[in-house]
């Protein structure tokens, strides 16, 4: 099976940011995303009071777009909001759909 290497970027963030983050991802070049409702807790745990309600947003993008997304998040969100993000390499079928 011929596959292409792309980046899967995962963003986990407090639920109120959902709409903003989705818009940001699409603006930065993502062609799609997948979102699920999760709970979690982290080092800062800013909202506390038991596990917090978060969203997890996953998007398959080119390495450049991945980089732009991580940079944008680091600049705009990491300081004050409960947001984490990471990227990994995945093998994708029909790679042209993501760029």
């Amino acid at each position: 099976m011929a596959t292409v290497s792309l980046k899967l970027v995962t963003v986990i963030a407090e639920a109120v940011l959902e709409e903003r983050l989705v818009r940001a991802l699409l603006d930065l070049g993502a062609k799609g995303y997948t979102l699920s409702e999760v709970r979690g807790s982290g080092a800062r745990g800013v909202r506390a009071g038991g596990p917090e309600v978060n969203v997890k947003i996953e998007t398959v993008v080119s390495p450049e777009v991945a980089d732009r997304i991580l940079a944008h998040l680091a600049e705009r969100y990491f300081a004050h909001y409960a947001v984490i993000a990471y990227a990994e390499t995945v093998e994708v079928v029909c790679g042209e759909k993501y760029t």
């Binding site: 109120v16 940011l17 903003r20 409702e37 800013v46 909202r47 506390a48 009071g49 004050h80």
Partner: protein, 323 residues
């Protein structure tokens, strides 16, 4: 009925007892857990139902009796956050963002507290104006706006100011309350009668179930109690009482009945935990949620639910020359 009897009547209502069971379940670390969907479904139901009922009753109310209560409610919504902010900064030495965020919560309103108040009055056989839900809708947003203006003035820059505002105005609590009032107003008593077996009659039971969950949520917040310090704990009890007195007094001035004045006191005394937290997380993320959530949800909400309601009622009777 004397005051003790009122307190007893309130504490032994299914609602307050359900809240206590929720607190106990959480402390016993029970695996009882409401699905998120149930929590959301119940809040949608409660807000819509209260709007519906209010709208239907508003349709038969002359505008002349409504404008004064609306006005004093608006006054309360814009003035209370101002002095809350000043007190939190001066006496509490809180950071600007924290003070502004807490001010937004205490200036806004808790719909569930309102519902608990109405249920209390009904049990006690005290009539109340039908249009009171309109006051809840009016009180929801102004404090959030005022607090954000204060924060902006104080700190300069601020994230997503416009966004936060739009979201507060189109927030679900406001939409459901005003949407319900719109439906109730236009379809009238007759329309509401058709949906009464769903929206009106089972209402107290649904509220009881909701308060069970609220008890669990509030108990979880109490784990942060140590973090918020004695000043804020005091603030979360004293401030509601002061606002309650103010609300009862202004309500009476505005021509509200004993029941109506009780409710306006309760509205003023209550602190938001739906609209305000969402707006603050977006517009003032540097404010620590442990402060405003623990104060409003962990302290003020249970205080009003148990002690506040009979207190404001006793005050209202006093001010109205009864008691």
């Amino acid at each position: 009925m004397d005051t003790l009897e009122l307190v007893r009547l309130n504490l032994l209502s299914p609602m307050v007892l359900a809240f206590a069971v929720g607190v106990a379940a959480s402390l016993a670390r029970s695996d009882l857990k409401f699905p998120d969907a149930l929590y959301v479904a119940l809040s949608i139901y409660l807000l819509l139902a209260i709007g519906l009922k209010g709208g239907a009753e508003l349709s038969g109310t002359p505008a002349a009796t409504v404008w004064a209560p609306l006005l004093v409610t608006l006054l309360i919504g814009t003035a209370t956050p101002v002095w809350c902010y000043a007190i939190l900064r001066r006496l509490g030495k809180l950071a600007q963002a924290d003070a502004a965020a807490i001010a937004a919560h205490y200036g806004s309103v808790s719909a569930v507290t309102f519902l608990a108040g109405l249920t209390f009055l009904q049990r006690a056989g005290v009539p109340a104006e039908g249009f009171l839900p309109a006051l809840v809708a009016v009180l929801e947003v102004p404090a959030i706006i005022v607090a954000l203006i204060i924060a902006r003035t104080a700190t300069g820059g601020m994230n997503s100011w416009a966004g936060a505002l739009r979201e507060a105005l189109a927030g679900k609590a406001v939409v459901l309350l005003t949407g319900g009032m719109f439906i109730g107003f236009l379809s009238g008593q007759e329309g509401v009668a058709q949906v009464a077996p769903f929206f009106i009659e089972p209402f107290h039971g649904a509220l009881t179930l909701f308060l069970l969950e609220m008890g669990m949520v509030a108990a979880r917040r109490l784990r942060d109690l140590a973090a918020i310090g004695p000043f804020l704990i005091g603030f979360a009890i004293v401030m509601p009482v002061l606002h309650g007195i103010l609300g009862v007094y202004l309500g009476t001035l505005a021509g509200l009945s004993v029941g109506g004045s009780t409710i306006l006191g309760l509205l003023a005394a209550s602190a938001s935990y739906i609209a305000a937290p969402a707006a603050m997380r977006i517009a003032l993320p540097q404010a620590n949620p442990a402060f405003y959530l623990t104060a409003s949800l962990g302290i003020t909400f249970p205080f009003n639910l148990t002690a506040g309601i009979p207190l404001y009622y006793a005050l209202a009777r006093l001010v109205h020359g009864g008691g």
